[in-house]
């Protein structure tokens, strides 16, 4: 379980990029974060992953207080991040990228179950990551995070820049991770259809603060409640 209470974080002291964030993410649940560009969504997931300096507030992962921890320690504790754009290492092969996730998580590799879940990656295992398509790169980023055997996954705009048919497949994969593997997902996403499909709870972020929170089903019934914050 990931809990943040009054989390304030940002690069500049006195000008926090996210302020007083309260959130809770349990295993087997999906918490979506939506908002306009510049609302602080990426800063929020980055702060939870330890990549943005923490200022005040509490962040708890299980029993451990993780605020101020270094990113590698947070990742090793079971909180994995799939950054915006995937963040794969273009100069490394598919297999090497995956082994990195396993190395960080100190797990044995190769992992047959992981390859079985991503057959397209298995086919291209010895190719450099910069030869993959956008959709394959996104798969690789998610697979690499899974190689860490995390308890919770932070996904920053996983559908960005990939074609609609692949977004559909991405939705299936993420649903499987929650329902079959019991992972908890914090999903930053612009695609409201994907959010409606997956989210148990939705947070609306504006100017670095939460301005609304609603259940996933509520978003399906009353999309205008979120759309006005997104300027749609």
């Amino acid at each position: 379980m990931l809990v943040a209470i009054g989390l304030t974080a940002g690069w500049q002291r006195g000008a926090a990029a996210i302020r007083a964030i309260d959130l809770e993410l349990a295993a087997g649940r999906v918490l979506a974060v939506v908002g306009r560009n510049g609302a602080g969504k990426t800063t929020l997931v980055s702060a939870l992953a330890g990549l943005v300096p923490w200022r005040t507030g509490i962040v708890r992962l299980g029993e451990a207080r993780i605020e101020g921890w270094r990113p590698e320690r947070i990742a090793a504790a079971g909180l994995a991040l799939v950054p915006q754009g995937g963040g794969v290492f273009p100069g490394l092969t598919v297999a090497e990228n995956l082994a990195l996730g396993a190395a960080g998580g100190r797990r044995p590799f190769p992992d047959r179950a992981l390859w079985a879940r991503f057959p397209a990656l298995l086919e291209r295992r010895d190719r450099p990551a910069d030869t993959l398509s956008g959709g394959e790169r996104r798969q690789l980023a998610i697979a690499r995070a899974l190689a860490m055997r995390p308890r919770l996954l932070l996904l920053d705009e996983p559908s960005e820049g990939i074609q609609p048919s692949l977004v559909e497949r991405l939705g299936e994969l993420l649903a499987e991770l929650v329902q079959v593997d019991g992972l908890g997902l914090l999903l930053v996403e612009q695609d409201l259809d994907l959010v409606v499909r997956l989210a148990d709870e939705v947070l609306v972020l504006q100017d670095g603060a939460i301005v609304d929170r609603l259940a996933g089903a509520e978003l399906a019934d009353r999309p205008e409640r979120v759309e006005r914050h997104l300027g749609l």
Binding site: E72, P83, F89, L92, G101, D126, T131
Partner: protein
């Protein structure tokens, strides 16, 4: 496919292996010393090419190994028996320890690994040379002379490595073995981890990898390799001087690696052999004007072949297919 292509590697080592049957003794002696420089270049290719840590102090660890070997072989290290072979074992450990301690200070203060890091390594090289010049224990600016050669304990009695052929073959065997080990390391998941930290340390960190730890290990390992090279050099040369651990040799090593190619240990080693050989030839042809000619040649090579003369070629051979 391997990142360090097999065929060019085999070709180089086989060509060097048959050399004792063809080349005169003086050339073998010279090449054996150049192979030590080649090992220094390989260590720089590891720390700079793979690890992304541009080091102006690689000779500090070469010199540390050379001095440590000299001190042990000459019985100047209290409590340590004066066995040259023991010196050869202790030299990489001492160089690795020196790098570990220096790296612990430089890396844990979270010094950026670009220009600030390079400048600090440069300062380290200057300080190390100064320390050696002022130390009477290390022979001051005169260095230490009369270092006994290595003696290999063979069944028929110890074999002193004085003659060119056994000395060359011994250094060649060590250089080839270390190249093989380094090539395997680069190809292994650990090698990928090192490159990932080089490409983007923050991205590596959110995968649970500690970039500081990785860099410290890379720096330490490279230093141990340079230390062994230094010990082998001192064992052949019989003399060590402060210039062996200073900025001059460190910069020379950077030139070898820039010419050969920093992406591959084989290219870096070949760069050292190539530059040292060209140096000898230019010296014979041009007399005192050779450094200027060599400098111009190096500038031309670096401009024309940014990945190194051999490096660019090997990269193309080693790169797995880009077609989809």
């Amino acid at each position: 496919m391997s990142r360090e292509p097999l065929l060019p590697s085999l070709a180089l080592w086989l060509a060097l292996l048959i050399l004792p049957a063809l080349a005169p003794g003086w050339l073998l002696s010279q090449l054996a010393q150049h192979l030590c420089y080649g090992l220094l270049a390989m260590s720089l290719a590891w720390v700079w090419g793979q690890g992304g840590l541009l080091s102006f102090c690689q000779a500090v660890f070469f010199g540390t190994g050379a001095y440590l070997f000299a001190l042990v072989a000459m019985g100047r290290l209290p409590g340590v028996p004066d066995l040259p072979l023991l010196g050869l074992v202790l030299a990489p450990l001492a160089a690795g320890l020196a790098a570990f301690l220096a790296g612990l200070v430089l890396l844990t203060v979270r010094l950026p690994t670009g220009a600030p890091w390079a400048v600090m390594t440069l300062v380290l090289a200057v300080i190390a040379e100064r320390l050696a010049v002022t130390s009477t224990w290390l022979g001051g600016s005169n260095g230490l002379a009369g270092i006994p050669p290595l003696a290999l304990p063979l069944p028929g009695g110890p074999l002193e490595l004085v003659d060119p052929v056994p000395t060359f073959l011994f250094v060649l065997a060590i250089a080839a073995s270390l190249h093989l080990l380094l090539a395997r390391l680069i190809d292994s998941p650990r090698g990928a981890l090192v490159r990932a930290v080089r490409e983007d340390p923050l991205r590596a960190a959110h995968l649970g990898i500690d970039p500081l730890r990785v860099r410290l290990l890379v720096f330490t390992g490279a230093a141990a390799l340079a230390g062994l090279a230094g010990a082998l050099f001192a064992a052949q040369f019989g003399f060590v001087a402060p210039s062996l651990l200073g900025l001059g040799l460190s910069t020379e090593a950077l030139v070898w690696v820039a010419v050969g190619g920093r992406g591959s240990p084989l290219a870096a080693l070949s760069g050292a052999l190539l530059v040292k050989t060209v140096e000898e030839l230019l010296g014979a042809w041009l007399g005192p004007g050779w450094p200027l000619a060599l400098g111009l040649l190096v500038v031309a090579v670096v401009l024309l072949f940014p990945a190194g003369v051999l490096g660019g070629l090997l990269e193309r051979l080693a790169r797995p297919g880009r077609g989809r």
